[in-house]
């Protein structure tokens, strides 16, 4: 077992034992399930909507070169600087370069999982810049110096009491148990930051090829302020975010809101097509779009799992995953948690180091069933297990499987083995799960049910005789 797998197992065990945390996750998600069902039912044909969404993303991803080229050309035609970043390093260097070139004093940032993926904040801080996360949940986890717990609900693991204590310690605010008061503390602080910041950094939910625009979905208004007031706006966009047409948003905006947060539509869905244009009263003087590959093209090259790039990061697969609900978001140790994270992380960060995530699934298929763009998530987890074994065969398991196959193909041998097993099972009960048990790794948490006294074959023979 590699170090990553060991760490994952330890974290998962620790967090699963934290019943209070599990209780908070269950409570937080209970409301989501009800609302999501309610709004999903308002779609006259949710299944048809999923089909169509999957089809549109399939079209976009399978002609990615054409759509990306169109997207970038249209943005450039209206004064946007488009930077193509082959990897995280290139993207970080470029954004740090923009900050340095303009001698920015403070940076305000809205929520972006892609920025988490390339550890953009660390790079900017190392270069001497202050970065403030403006999304409330992200602001809270930033103050705690921990990564987001969930791709959509970054601070869902915390109670209001913990947040109050955090604000009291770090911001010197009066303790309060009221979520509204806590939100207003963050609002007051952030207002100053928006007005002072000279660089705003955002992500993007969609990149519209037809019109050369990015689309940002949010509830708080922090992304709108981040992209309105500072004189420079940098948007970090994964290359898989492309949608062919503007009209595709008519489907994707309500779907993302319903699947992701149990809302009919998110509060702000905003399109940005360039820096401040002649005649406009505000907006940044410079608009940079950083298109990030960072091994997405490797996932693209895997035709079987290419549909994992359809992901719109709604987080629905996390919300329904029995593994996520029990081990929680921080156990994964990845930027993207839950089923989608377990599928794509081995591709983005190396199969051998992250293959253990493929086992973090009951293969129940709830993720595939809930995914609004129909990514076949649980089968991809199976495929990743297969790849991992192919690349690094497991000799002990292989011998066991070969032995089992040998016995099972020979009826007499099988009958003999079954008789021996019937005798051996009661004896093995004496050591089962203890250090003396050679199968302890398996049996310490599992128990084989007692074998029947007579086999089906024996019963059948007896019946025929009588």
């Amino acid at each position: 077992m590699n170090a990553g797998a060991k760490e994952f197992n330890e974290a998962a065990r620790r967090n699963t034992a934290d019943l209070r945390q599990r209780d908070r996750i269950q409570k937080a998600l209970a409301g989501y399930y009800l609302k999501r069902e309610d709004y999903q039912n308002r779609f006259p044909d949710w299944a048809g909507a999923r089909d169509l969404a999957a089809e549109i993303k399939r079209e976009a991803i399978n002609h990615l070169d054409r759509y990306l080229d169109e997207f970038a050309s249209r943005l450039e035609a209206r004064g946007t600087k488009v930077f193509w970043a082959p990897d995280g390093q290139a993207a970080r260097d470029y954004i740090v370069g923009v900050a340095r070139q303009h001698k920015v004093r403070s940076i305000i940032k809205s929520k972006s999982m892609t920025a988490e993926e390339i550890h953009l904040n660390d790079a900017l801080e190392q270069a001497g810049f202050e970065v403030v996360e403006s999304d409330l949940g992200e602001f809270i986890v930033q103050l705690r110096r921990e990564p987001p717990y969930h791709i959509v609900f970054p601070a869902m693991h915390l109670t209001r009491q913990q947040i109050s204590d955090l604000f009291h310690d770090r911001l010197g605010s009066e303790p309060t148990n009221n979520p509204e008061d806590l939100t207003m503390i963050a609002r007051r602080i952030m207002r100053r930051k928006y007005c002072e910041a000279d660089l705003g950094i955002s992500g993007a939910n969609f990149a519209i090829a037809e019109t050369g625009m990015i689309s940002i979905t949010e509830n708080e208004g922090n992304a709108r302020l981040t992209t309105s007031l500072p004189k420079i706006h940098v948007a970090l966009v994964g290359i898989e975010k492309v949608l062919p047409k503007l009209s595709d948003l008519a489907l994707f905006l309500p779907m993302l809101a319903t699947a992701g947060a149990g809302q009919p539509i998110t509060c702000y869905n905003t399109l940005y097509g360039g820096p401040r244009q002649p005649g406009e009263s505000d907006g940044p003087e410079e608009f940079h779009v950083v298109l990030l590959d960072n091994r997405r093209t490797e996932l693209l090259a895997d035709a079987e799992q290419r549909d994992a790039l359809h992901c719109i990061r709604c987080g629905a697969c996390l919300n329904v995953c029995p593994v996520f609900k029990n081990i929680g978001g921080h156990s994964y140790g990845t930027t993207y948690q839950g089923p989608i994270g377990s599928v794509i992380t081995p591709h983005l960060r190396g199969l051998q180091d992250w293959k253990h995530l493929s086992q973090a699934s009951s293969l129940c298929g709830a993720c595939s069933q809930t995914c609004p763009v129909k990514i076949d998530l649980h089968h991809h987890l199976l495929h990743n297990r297969r790849y991992a074994v192919r690349l690094r065969p497991a000799p002990v398991e292989n011998c066991l499987q070969a032995g089992l196959a040998f016995v099972m193909c020979r009826p007499r041998l099988y009958a003999l083995a079954a008789r021996l097993a019937r005798i051996a099972q009661p004896l093995s009960r004496l050591v089962e799960g203890t250090v003396l048990d050679p199968l302890r790794a398996w049996t310490k948490t599992r128990s084989l049910p007692p074998m029947a006294v007579k086999s089906f074959h024996q019963l059948w023979q007896e019946r025929k005789k009588s």
Binding site: K27, A28, G31, Y32, P44, W46, G48, A49, D51, A54, N62, D65, L68, A72, W84, P86, S134, D135, I140, P154, A155, T159, R160, P179, T183, M184, Y194, C195, N219, E220, R224, L225, S228, L229, I239, S247, D248, A250, L253, P254, P264, I265, C267, Y268, N269, T270, L271, G273, R276, G279, E280, S281, D282, G283, T297, L300, A303, R306, K374, D376
Partner: protein, 226 residues
Amino acid sequence: MTYREIILGRIREALKVVAPPPIFRNGAAGPSRLPAAPPLWLPSAGGTLGEQIELFRRNAEELKAGFFECANLSEAIQHVKELAVAGGWKKIGRHSGELTDALAQELGLPEVRTDGGYAVDDLESCDAGLTECEALVAQTGSVLVSAPSAGGRALSVLPPHHVVLARGSQMVPDLTAALQRVQKKFQDKFPSFLSFISGPSRTGDIERILVLGAHGPKKLTILLLP
């Protein structure tokens, strides 16, 4: 080779292998591309203007936005005056426009105009932002604003109360129609900013409890004129 060529090259190389067709799907035939109307997979939109207004009203209420139909401009002015008194407004932000000009004149409050630029702190200290819009979307209860129709990017999000003035002709049934409308209007000369605003700013980041006014407006009021 530029980075652009490198990435596009990687993509073309990757796409040489064709992806297998989706393995699970309802029915044999795949869905077709977005037809113009009616978009059956989306929540339904009303047919007549009256139905659309009713649907918009229900959706706006659910989103906790205020929605009022005004018979004429003086009724709208009266309504905003009441809001100004109730909210203790001392200063408003606005842009020039047929409706906003007429209303601001009657309101008689000190104002910050965003046309052609403004000082951020000035706008930040306003009690309300007064804008027009591109369209109202019945299907979702959303207001579609753009840089030219709403005085730029910040006016509709920085002051704590956003008041929108709209005409009946701006009501559209659904998101598809709203997007079509701006595409037709702007052609290739899109503004740099377009936004669907659906209710006042909100967050659920603390224990998933809804709080209005996270960073943007705590209140959104939409006034519909004939």
